[in-house]
């Protein structure tokens, strides 16, 4: 209001070069023009130089045959697949390690953060040492260490360690375990799981509403799990319980059949989780310490058990402090997963690097990789901001 009044009042009297509103516009147009000009210069210069050096450009290469093999894929892939598919394999591998890393490091980090506050001297010291050891050594070194440990410590596939009546095998090729043969019913079991989860959420809402209204508690968490897991099992039973298993069998050089967790993936996941949970632990600890002592005393005075006090009183308040910095840690896990290339896990960076090398089209590929990381990071960030808003202090 004030500025507007000033602007309209002074416009009549002051020359345009002294008018703050006009000057503001002029400066902004100049700045935007300069930035756009610089961008235009860089882009056009790059395109011109690529053309002059006869370096191919454009995204046509995405449809061409990739020709290289990838060691760890979640979807069907062969050297006859396209570059686009190879990049997609890389994106999925990055997502797999990032999602698992986020979940596991949240759990481990919370345990260690709470453990560091424990009145038990030994436990709190162990947690303290853990934090100091892991966050003060570069992640890359941890990755090398875990990878070396796995590939040096375990025997070759022909001397593999068999466990559980020789159905599970551990060797330097990874952990092989039996899995059910692919069956049409699996898709419906997945649908059942989704429906079950939805049902569990609705059940939990209903239970809370009832408790608010009548004070009658309902064990909605355990029933919820029952509903979510029970539905797919029922579907499986109804389909006649198809139970053909694919067993890992030593054949020639390596095991065939079953499912394998490869050493590169394990080393990367373990490294990321152990490293990041040290940071998560400190965030959790700071969140809990930020609460006034009176909160837990008041909860105890109301007769809440320690578990209930933690779940209903302390954690909701601590989360307000914890969630914003946790977002950064989740983003760090996602971005740090690109260190995979050092130990040979075929993530997005690996796929893109090979593609750059085979096609020579660095700029297009860098754009793809930036877009991929940006969209993953922005999604995480958007989710965490939504969650943060949900748990934020609501003033009434």
């Amino acid at each position: 209001m004030a500025v507007e009044a000033l602007g309209t009042a002074s416009r009549a009297k002051v020359a345009p070069w002294n008018d703050p509103v006009v000057r503001g516009w002029v400066f902004q147009i100049v700045v935007v023009g300069l930035v756009a000009g610089l961008a235009w210069y860089l882009v056009s210069n790059t395109i011109e130089n690529l053309a002059r050096q006869k370096i191919a450009s454009g995204f046509d290469y995405l449809g061409r045959e990739a020709g290289f093999e990838i060691g760890d894929t979640m979807i069907e892939y062969s050297p006859a697949s396209t570059y686009a598919r190879a990049i997609w394999v890389g994106i999925l591998n990055t997502l797999r390690v990032a999602v698992l890393g986020i979940i596991l490091s949240t759990i481990l980090g919370t345990l260690i953060g709470v453990g560091r506050l424990s009145p038990n001297w030994l436990l709190s010291k162990i947690c303290e040492w853990y934090v100091e050891a892991f966050r003060n050594v570069p992640l890359l070194l941890w990755l090398f260490l875990f990878y070396k440990l796995i590939s040096e410590a375990f025997p070759g596939p022909r001397q593999a360690i068999g466990a559980l009546w020789n159905t599970v095998f551990l060797s330097n090729r990874g952990l092989y375990f039996p899995t059910p043969m692919a069956d049409l019913i699996h898709k419906w079991m997945g649908v059942g799981l989704l429906v079950g989860i939805l049902g569990a959420i609705l059940l939990h809402r209903w239970a809370r509403k009832r408790q608010d209204a009548t004070g009658q508690p309902f064990p909605s968490i355990s029933t919820g799990f029952g509903v979510a897991l029970g539905l797919p099992i029922l579907i499986w039973l109804a389909a006649g319980a198809p139970s053909t298993m694919s067993w890992p069998v030593l054949k020639g050089f390596n095991f065939e059949g079953g499912t394998v967790i490869q050493p590169e993936f394990t080393a990367l996941l373990v490294g990321l989780v152990l490293y990041t949970s040290a940071f998560v632990a400190e965030i959790v600890r700071s969140g809990i310490l930020a609460l006034h002592k009176g909160q837990s005393e008041a909860a105890a005075a109301l007769g809440l058990s320690r578990g209930l006090a933690m779940r209903l009183v302390l954690l909701p308040q601590a989360l307000r402090v914890i969630v914003p910095p946790m977002t950064s840690q989740y983003l760090n896990i996602t971005k740090n997963s690109s260190l995979a290339i050092a130990i040979g896990y075929p993530d997005l960076v690996a796929s893109i690097n090979v593609t750059i090398n085979q096609t020579g089209q660095a700029i297009e590929n860098i754009l793809i990789i930036m877009a991929a990381y940006l969209s993953v990071s922005l999604s995480i960030s958007a989710f965490m901001n939504w969650y943060n808003k949900r748990i934020a202090l609501r003033e009434r």
Partner: protein
């Protein structure tokens, strides 16, 4: 983190570097003005390009850089070496970070065209092979179905590997690690059954990189050679004179061997009556002028670096630990493929 930086670095280098070359003029002028040649070399392949215990770069590929520096600047020591992995090398060359690569790079059509490069003469005729532990009892690459294979990314090796297994209806699992040191470590620790690379690199790895406690004799290189790998220096498009100089410097080293000119006898050879030798060594002027360098260019190269045969035997042949046979890399007069067009 390394890789995030690498990725953004590549992007930045591509933008800034390409923008830079737009105004830098010819590569040759830049080298002369700078007084040194910037040469991309392998990060460490014994015999081909490796910094020795004093930090001095030695190897067959390194000798090409030294010879080019001797031709252009007159001093083989005026080289700045930039060790590059297989992944980094092309971007480094495209962006102008190095003047040339002498880096065990295989000449292919795509690289010569779509990547915007020119190749020099072939430094080493190589072919891809497989190395396995003797304990596996494998005698032929045809028995490798289902094997786990260690390979470096961004190489023709990686593509040939996939092609070979597809052509022979076999499957394999690759373990792909960027740093050659880590690939070797993964192989020697037993993570992979097979290590595949150019056979020269396999012999080099077997002798020079086998971990203590194991012996080179624990490993065999299988007889199959599954590809042609002509290794040649690489220059970017845009300065034909520089490309000519690199190629003719290589020819000069081969030519010198053919006419028996060595680093030891080059001074006496300069007094020879043979018109060919007089022309090569610049006693009869003309060749240097045509190439745009000093008339004594071949004299400088041979005196400071040696002829091709000397360089070969010193780095990878019988005077080295690798003891690789001349084979395809012998002179055409002795049953090999090394053949230089005449300097006249």
């Amino acid at each position: 983190m390394l890789n995030k930086f690498l990725a953004t670095g590549i992007a930045a280098a591509a933008l800034v570097g390409v923008a830079g070359t737009a105004h830098a003029g010819k590569d040759l002028d830049a080298i002369k003005a700078r007084g040194s040649l910037t040469c991309g070399v392998p990060t460490g392949v014994a015999g081909f390009g490796l910094a020795d215990s004093q930090g001095k770069w030695v190897g067959l590929n390194v000798d090409v850089c030294r010879a080019v520096a001797a031709t252009i600047i007159g001093d083989a020591e005026k080289v700045k070496y930039v060790p590059l992995t297989a992944q980094q090398r092309f971007t480094a060359l495209q962006s102008g970070e190095v003047d040339m690569l002498s880096n065990n790079t295989t000449e292919t059509l795509t690289r010569d065209t779509a990547l915007g490069f020119d190749f020099g003469a072939v430094t080493y005729y190589d072919g891809q092979g497989f190395m396995v532990n003797k304990k596996l009892g494998v005698k032929s690459a045809k028995e490798l179905n289902g094997a786990t294979v260690c390979v470096q990314p961004g190489t023709t090796t990686e593509l040939n590997l996939a092609d070979y297994f597809r052509a022979n209806k076999m499957t394999f699992k690759p373990v792909v690690i960027e740093k050659v040191e880590e690939v070797r470590a993964a192989f020697f620790s037993g993570r992979c059954d097979v290590y595949t690379n150019d056979s020269s690199a396999l012999y080099s790895t077997r002798v020079a990189n086998v971990p203590s406690g194991q012996s080179p004799n624990d490993y065999i290189v299988l007889p199959e050679i599954i590809s042609k790998e002509p290794l040649a220096p690489v220059m970017r498009h845009g300065d034909n004179q520089f490309v000519d100089i690199v190629r003719w410097t290589q020819y000069a080293m081969i030519e010198a061997e053919e006419y028996g000119i060595t680093s030891k006898n080059v001074d006496e050879m300069a007094k020879s009556d043979n018109p060919v030798i007089k022309r090569i060594l610049g006693v009869t002027p003309g060749m240097g002028k045509a190439l745009g360098v000093d008339e004594k260019w071949v004299y400088n190269v041979v005196k400071q670096v040696g002829n091709y045969g000397e360089s070969f035997e010193r780095n990878v042949g019988k005077d080295s630990i690798l003891k690789i046979d001349r084979g395809l890399n012998n002179l055409w007069t002795k049953g090999g493929l090394q053949y230089a067009p005449p300097i006249r």
